[in-house]
Amino acid sequence: MTAIGTSVARADGPLKVTGQVQYTVDTQLPGMLHAKVLRSPYPHARVLAVDATAAAARPGVVVLTAADLTNLDHAFGVALRDQPIVAIDRVRFVGDPVAAVAADTPEAAEAALEFIDVEYEPLETVMDPEAAAADDAPVLHPVERPRAPMFVGWPAERFRGSLNVCSGYHVEQGDLDAGFASADHVFEDTYRVPPIHHGNLEPHAAVASWDHRGHLNVISSTQSPSIVRLQLAEIFGLTENQVRVVVPYVGGAYGSKVYAKIEPLVAAIARKAGRPVRLVLTREEVFATAARHACTVHIRTGVRNDGTIVAREVRAFYDTGAYADTGPRASKKGGYLAGGPYRIEHQSLTSYCVYTNKAPAVAYRGFGVPQVVWAYESQMDDIAARLAIDPLELRRRNLIRDGDTFVTGDVLRNPGLDEALEAVAEAGDWGSPVPEARPGFAIGRGVACAIKSTSTPSNSAASVRLNADGSVHLLTSSVEIGQGSTTALAQVIAETLSIPVSRVTVSLPDTDVTPFDQSTISSRTTFSVGRAATDAAAKIRQQLMSLAASQLEAAVTDLDVDEGSVFVRGSRDRSLTFAEIIRRHFGSPAGSLFGDSVFQTRGGLDPLTGKGKASATWFYSAAAAEVEVDLETGKARVLRIATSADVGKAINPAQCHLQNEGSMLTALGSALFEEVVYDAGQPTNSSFLDYGMPSLEDHPLEFHSILVEHPSEDGPFGARGVGESVISPVAPAIGNAVAAALGGARVRELPISPERVLAAVDQQPEARA
């Protein structure tokens, strides 16, 4: 069979090129109302009074305020339950929901918002995560919030400072002081990353309705139908089977739609209205709902003259905004990965997850990792420069190898990292002379590499149904967010059952029908859901063989499966198609066979030591960039980029390349110009008029995507995952190329704006070419 390793056409293609594809924003229900949200104009304020009388008196208008939440367990959050559906007594960022309105049209709802009076008392704000962690900082959540049951928490007290530190993580090995004492050189730097926008073109959208059984139905653009169902059940005091979450195709997510976002609010106002209610966020509201964590990374590294890294200390302050959301998990991941994919004997890695008066930072492609990779891979080239060692060679000398024990205690098996690094070096002509630049310009090259883990423990269930005609259906709660899951999952099933991929269709999530899946996050769908689907399909295969054994009067051990038939090995004429087997079994050409499977990864890190099993599989990636810098304006242009990722096994190579291209471009935007800007607590560019994302003209003139295949132990056919791999090394590769072009002058804060490049050149005049 050749179902895997083949770039079969996407299952959703015909829907997407014709506009027939249905997104949540396309949902229309009879009698549906439209919601609009009243949001805080203050970054931090006490809410003294909310008077919605005049709004509620308008015809056809339903209003939701804190007064409607008294009978609900209303605070939500997947780590800490700290986020109210609408503000109770305090607002914590500009855009924090204060009240919501539902009406017959969006315009009527919008108009009604103006009839809600809110009395605020402004409070002191804190916008910088490190300042917010200090013990004299204004506190956002004076009362510590309960932990969500799913979250294995760290005792935040260990990391305070201020109550704003809502979580922390620490791990160490060796003896840090001894390590630094044995170093010939010590490098100590601070790197910064600002908040950036996900840019999911489909805004967050949800439609909620309640039926007369008291059951809640939600159609949502979420990446996490199974978890959103749990969260809604908790909030509204329902059992899981009383909540139904349906997810149509999702028009871009990149982390912005992980776990409950707007669903609790929409469900709450629909309950009050007694009618279906739809909320589609405006672009400004998307900016107020999700961002990538800003981060300040202090990194100190001790190195011997031969380039051996002997000690590393990292303290990273993750700015999680006004609510924790996934911040405690993202900062944990960034924390234990902050040492990088290197053998370092002595390490101390600490991360802090800190509240500030910014919009909530949430999951974002890379999940806390690009921030620390920006720091350690940039510093790596400073080390190389001072030691006069080639940056690629310096990495080679320190890379982790097969069988190494990671700082968490995980043993790394068969990492494709060295191969990934060598591949981009070759594609990027590393070591050959850099092309001569035009007068007034300089060209430089840079490399970087990275390691990332996947959410562990987690579990995914899959249910495979074989129809009487031999066609197959996969029931899964994994979400098609554009990554091609409905295609790749069909491929692993087709491979297992030896049938054409076109015979398999993959469901979209409907929690009344499709089994549990942790979430479409963490590059885990092909690995986890793919494995569950493969195992489920194998059970169907077993059933078919058993049935065929009696029908063909042969031993199961003598049977094999090929091209939709079971046959007796060595005599292909004794064969039955799947359809024939089912017809004989049921005595009619109708009925179906089921195969179910759950794939579970085990592990987790001990809250006190930070050690244990961090990840069920690991992602390795590298990038090489060639950049031209305009020395007078400071503007950097990416001439070419090569990226590589160890995908384990490429189930669908074309889709793997597309994931790499998307990761590369998002990273390029974050490297050179993307930033959500705040001025005195007010966001100043929450519109695409003022927040630019990479366009066709920003695409590197030359782009290579390289797939390395070092099989994983547990993934289907050895697959690891690919969704986030490339995002981490691209920004430091660009940064290293810029620094190389400037003779070592380095920008340590993203984005590498033209202005910052000039400032770096000014501080190091010899950098001028």
């Binding site: 315009e107 919008e110 108009a111 007078e632 304006t633 503007k635 935007g669 050179l672 110009f673 993307e674 930033e675 800007v677 100043t684 560019n685 008029l689 003022d690 630019g692 994302m693 990479p694 366009s695 003209e697 920003d698 704006s753 033209p754 202005e755 000039l758």
Partner: protein
């Protein structure tokens, strides 16, 4: 967007009458700015006077004696693609081409662009460099004004209530005139300009007969570098002289800091980009 009354006059006279009747009524041209402002409730007009159905406001005419007349409702895309514009004012075609994206240029009009007076825009600087004037009508008559004085400040023009820009007039270029528009973005290629530099250079042999240098998108209105222009008159534009003019440009602007750059950075850019534009024009001369 909240409801409003939409008036659809078919003649200029009718439109002017409507605007005279109601000082609060706002003229609607391409709508790419106005509709955004209304969607965000930054403007809430009760009455719009739609100018799109008025033939007199459309079209481009060219004559070598009188120059270019561009009807105010001509889309940016039409200006960019018009043969006479491309032939006689290639830098104006360029300044229009770099506006936003093709979809916006198919909607936005040149008159609307000027009347909106957004400082982060490309065509105004180039038009000022070319000595463009705007023709303005109201029920009480007609007047003409240089674009340079028409633009008063960010989002502010000399338009009085009831007045409409009807035409943009660009004088014919002198023989062999060099012109250039340079848009510089600091972020995505699709971003609005951080700095725009427009140059129009008339020559007498190899010497400069007259020069216009206009810096757009930096201050609240495009800034003419008058001192630098005077320095150039009658002289050959040597690299030293160009450096001096570029320095004058940097002192002439009063940069607005925004997400595209700080005032200090923009001032520095102005010097670099004016120098590059002038060097480009001179190179073109010697070529």
């Amino acid at each position: 967007m909240q409801p409003f009354e939409l008036l659809q006059p078919r003649t200029l006279e009718d439109a002017l009458d409507r605007l005279a009747d109601d000082e609060e009524a706002r003229p609607l041209a391409g709508g790419t700015a106005l509709v955004v402002l209304m969607k965000h409730a930054l403007l809430r007009p009760e009455r719009l006077v739609n100018l799109k159905r008025i033939p007199a406001l459309q079209g481009i005419d060219w004559s070598s004696e009188t120059g270019l007349r561009i009807g105010a409702l001509t889309t940016i895309r039409e200006v960019e693609q018009h043969q006479a514009v491309r032939t006689w004012f290639p830098a104006l075609a360029e300044a229009c081409h770099v506006v936003a994206n093709v979809r916006i240029r198919n909607l936005a009009t040149l008159g609307g662009n000027l009347a909106h007076a957004d400082y982060q825009s490309d065509p105004p600087a180039m038009l000022i460099a070319l000595g463009a004037r705007v023709r303005i009508r109201s029920v009480s008559g007609e007047r003409e004004e240089p674009l340079e004085t028409f633009l008063v400040s960010g989002y502010q023009t000399t338009l009085e209530p009831g007045e409409l820009v009807t035409d943009i007039l660009v004088p014919p270029p002198t023989a062999g005139r060099r012109m250039q528009y340079l848009k510089f973005t600091t972020r995505s290629a699709e971003d609005r300009p951080c700095v725009g530099v427009a140059v129009s250079l008339g020559l007498e042999g190899t010497a400069c007969r007259d020069l216009r240098v206009v810096v757009g998108a930096v201050s609240s209105t495009p800034v003419r570098v008058a001192e630098g222009e005077e320095l150039a008159t009658g002289k050959v534009l040597t690299p030293d002289l160009i450096d001096e003019i570029a320095g004058r440009a940097a002192s002439a602007v009063d940069p607005i800091g925004d997400v595209r750059g700080s005032p200090e950075y923009k001032r520095r850019l102005v010097q670099v980009l004016v120098r590059r534009s002038l060097l480009g024009s001179v190179t073109e001369v010697s070529a």
